[in-house]
């Protein structure tokens, strides 16, 4: 029936629809604006300013032979897994800087890696279009590749992966424009999420008690919030001017931050359904590759393509510190589970722990 309609009066129908969609979009903005009674910096006026920060590199992890692309913390607060362009995935005890496990993937550009909540496995993937789970072993001589489990299958590169609340499910995002939820044991796809018009580059799972949503960011400049049960996009935000490289939830789960190639980080409030802050500076012109919040949500750490890390005051919108040390792009950045430090991985082959 729809096809017939289009065939009979194609241009009329399309024009009417286009006008209708534009009107609705304007209406949406009006509805959003109606409830916008205060700006973030006004709320921040009552909060005291931050003191001076002394953040230094406390550990430098050397061992990757090429660009470090991704890293993740273990729940034990001291171990991390990192992956690199040369196909190596390494598990470190960052506190002692010892390497504990190493896996060589059959592909280069391992852009995604994640530590399982139990601490007993890691997941990784990249140009092989797959996400594989490697159970870790107490026997250091064991070849981990032997027990590898291929879980996710996409039609293009894997950009990010994340375990849900257990080792049994993995959420992935891909260059093919989709995200998907997989059952690890069977490799079955439990849910797929369509809606991005271009590569999806990042995702983050909501920390809320119900834990049923996640946010993804893509090259279409959109950040979408998805319902894991139904596969529907429940909210979306399109205010960035370029690719969104990283999204991260605010610790309470009511907001999230994004970092983009347009050199800004932005904060989106989910309950008010709008962008509430832009973290930018004239002197910062290179894209943000990854962002993460400190434990209280007061600080936002951003790793940038100009080799620096900028620390932002989330409430006041100002930059409180800039950290130097990496000799190439900072490609990944995550705060440790107990908030005592954050780890940055870079194209200079190293990872640094800052505290």
């Amino acid at each position: 029936m729809a096809a017939q309609e289009v065939a009979s009066q194609p241009s009329d129908t399309l024009t009417t629809l286009k006008t209708e969609s534009e009107t609705l979009k304007t209406k949406l903005e009006e509805e959003r604006a109606k409830l916008h009674d205060v700006e973030l910096h006004q709320v921040a006026e009552k909060i005291e300013a931050l003191g001076q920060f002394v953040m230094k590199t406390r550990r430098t992890l050397k061992g990757h032979g090429n660009k470090v692309l991704c890293m993740d913390w273990c729940k034990d607060k001291r171990r991390i897994v990192s992956s690199s362009q040369d196909g190596k995935v390494i598990v470190w005890d960052a506190f002692t800087t010892n390497k504990e496990h190493a896996v060589t993937m059959p592909c280069t550009w391992v852009m995604a890696c994640a530590y399982a909540p139990s601490g007993c496995a890691v997941a990784c993937g990249g140009l092989d279009n797959k996400c594989s789970v490697y159970p870790l072993s107490l026997d250091k001589n064991e070849n981990l590749a032997a027990k590898k489990k291929s879980v996710a299958m996409h039609t293009n590169y894997l950009s990010a992966c994340c375990f849900t609340n257990s080792d049994m499910q993995i959420l992935t995002s891909s260059g093919d424009g989709t995200c998907a939820l997989w059952d690890v044991e069977s490799g079955q796809m439990l849910q797929s999420f369509h809606g991005h018009a271009a590569d999806v580059l990042c995702l983050d799972l909501a920390p809320s008690e119900t834990g049923n949503t996640f946010v993804s960011g893509g090259c279409d400049k959109k950040a979408c919030v998805w319902d894991m049960r139904t596969g529907q996009c429940i909210q979306s935000f399109e205010t960035h001017e370029s690719d969104i490289n990283s999204v991260r939830y605010y610790p309470s789960g009511d907001a999230f931050a994004s970092g983009s190639d347009d050199a800004t980080c932005r904060l989106y409030d989910l309950r008010a359904d709008r962008e509430v802050a832009i973290y930018s500076k004239e002197s910062i012109i290179f894209g943000t590759s990854s962002v993460d919040f400190s434990l209280s949500g007061r600080l936002l750490f951003g790793g940038y393509n100009d080799y620096t890390i900028n620390v932002w005051d989330v409430l006041k919108g100002t930059r409180v510190s800039i950290l130097f040390g990496h000799e190439n792009r900072v490609s990944t950045l995550r705060v440790s589970p107990d908030g005592t430090a954050f780890c940055s991985g870079s194209w200079d082959h190293t990872l640094r722990i800052w505290a």
Binding site: A2, E5, L14, L17, K18, L24, K25, L28, E31, L35, D37, V38, V43, I47, F53, R59, D76, K77, R78, E100, L138, T164, S166, M168, G175, D183, E185, A197, A198, S208, E209, T210, R229, C233, I234, S242, P251, D254, D269, L270, R271, A272, D273, V276, I285, G287, L295, S296, R298, L299, N305, D306, Y307, L315, N328, D338, T340, A341, W347, A355
Partner: protein, 480 residues
């Protein structure tokens, strides 16, 4: 020299390198004759190089004009050098900005990254061949290697390459010596940026190309607009909260957790990453017997915080046991396991949950309203991952709004608050810190911790069978 129209600043699909446009604007300002960086003439052997600038002048200009610290200015300057807008005259292979008397020059726009993107292998071959013609053996080892490689791959066009190289060489000879020296420097700088020497990287490396072209116009069909209309209609209908309310909540969260954020308030006894002493982790293990005061305080912030902390959840379980209402939490945990468990185990788990918590006369029957119970039981006929959602949310809300607050006022919690320890801050001397650094303790492998946890869990389940309400009530009646 034309800018390729199909390549936008070196990235096929969109201006990922749009930052270069902004860099260029700054470079143009820096070269302004009156307000720019002051250059001088430098003598190099017998020639005079014009418009030479020093590293410290560049940093000073950036500091002043961009209103930033000299550290940041130096980092910004390094970007200018890395992308080839400014090139060093000394130590030309290392593309960093040194904030001292080191000499630099502005690169001619002809060699700016955006103009001649992407640096072609043919051009590189011509460049290397030309230098070879000028003087044999002048190429570096890595350049010689590249030259040999290119000769192999481009063997079919090698005559063309040699001819071009000779032409450029002769054209160069026709120039004035000073101009020739300057041009050679510029060209060399260009190739250092685009063909980095070993152990260095090229700033032009932007990683992988994106797969989908977001600039490609999605076909504006009926379906396309229909999707947008449906989505936007739903979005308009969605309930929103006033900014003052939601932003206030964000600020409140920050204030509540401020003292618990190690970046804002030092954690006690000390941050393991800073002092190399891991006592902080030892005192906060998931199964520690006496938790710290900070940790116990955090349990009171929200029900989620209490449940999320294994130690808090354990304490809550003790309270529930005393109240004989452990079935609510047990049900919630079982529902979580169903939701996040393997697909294969689902129907088995669903059945177990039904028998234990929902069936009439079940040993750990949970008290939910009739409607929810009806929906859940019906759903369990064809169990799926989210079949217990309604019941689970109901129970969770019950615990959150009622049980949680009673827990906080209970003797169980109050006693925990009293028992909780407050570690004194470490005060290490420099020598002690050095020693700590040498003696960093390794920790138990998470695999072992996990195995232990699983064993404990199995033991606990076997030991504490479900409380049989009927028997219990019967025994109470008997006593009466």
């Amino acid at each position: 020299m034309t800018i390729r129209s199909d390549r936008d600043h070196g990235q096929r699909y969109r201006p990922r390198m749009s930052c270069l446009k902004k860099l260029e604007a700054t470079v143009v300002q820096m070269q302004d004759p009156s307000t720019g960086v002051k250059g001088t003439d430098q003598k190099l052997n017998v020639t005079i190089i014009p418009h030479v600038i020093t590293g410290q002048d560049i940093v000073a200009w950036i500091t002043k004009n961009m209103n930033i610290d000299s550290d940041e200015a130096q980092a910004f300057g390094t970007m200018l050098v890395a992308f080839g807008y400014i090139y060093p005259l000394q130590d030309h292979k290392k593309l960093v900005l040194r904030p001292d008397g080191s000499l630099y020059r502005f690169q001619t726009p002809y060699f700016w990254p955006v103009q001649k993107w992407k640096a072609e292998d043919t051009d590189y071959a011509i460049y290397l061949a030309k230098r070879n013609i000028r003087k044999k053996g002048v190429l570096d080892a890595y350049e010689q290697e590249e030259y040999n490689k290119l000769h192999k791959w481009m063997n079919h066009k090698w005559d063309f390459i040699v001819m071009q190289a000779k032409e450029q060489y002769h054209a160069g000879k026709a120039r004035q010596k000073a101009d020739r020296v300057v041009f050679d420097c510029q060209e060399r700088a260009y190739w250092i940026v685009h063909r980095p020497p070993p152990q260095t990287h090229s700033a032009m490396d932007y990683g992988l190309d994106r797969h989908i072209d977001p600039n490609a116009e999605e076909k504006k069909t009926y379906d396309y607009y229909r999707r947008i209309i449906i989505y936007t209609q739903q979005a308009v209908m969605r309930s929103r909260v006033k900014s003052s309310v939601s932003l206030g909540a964000l600020a409140k969260y920050i204030t509540t957790f401020k003292n618990h954020d190690p970046f804002l308030v030092p954690c006690l006894p000390s941050n393991p990453w800073q002092t190399d002493d891991d006592s902080y982790w030892e005192l906060n293990t998931p199964d520690v017997e006496i938790p710290t005061k900070m940790r116990v305080e955090r349990w009171s912030f929200s029900f989620y915080e209490l449940l999320n902390d294994p130690r808090g959840r354990a304490d809550f379980k003790i309270f529930l046991k005393k109240e004989f209402s452990g079935e609510n939490l047990a049900f919630w945990e079982a529902a979580e396991e169903l939701k996040w468990g393997t697909a294969a185990s689902m129907s088995e788990k669903a059945e177990h949950i039904f028998k234990t918590f929902l069936a009439p006369g079940a040993p750990r029957w949970i008290n939910i309203d009739g409607r929810t119970m009806g929906l859940t039981v019906k759903g369990l006929e064809h169990p799926h991952r989210y079949v217990l959602d309604a019941a689970q949310t109901h129970i969770f809300m019950l615990m959150k709004k009622d049980t949680f607050y009673r827990y906080l006022k209970s003797p169980v919690y109050k006693e925990m608050q009293k028992k909780a320890i407050s570690p004194a801050p470490h005060n290490f001397s420099e020598a002690q810190l050095q020693q700590n650094m040498r003696n960093r303790r390794p920790s138990i492998d998470p695999i072992i911790t996990w195995q232990k946890e699983q064993e404990e869990k199995a033991k606990a389940e076997a030991a504490s069978g479900p409380v049989d309400i009927k028997k219990l009530m019967a025994s109470k009646l008997d006593r009466k």
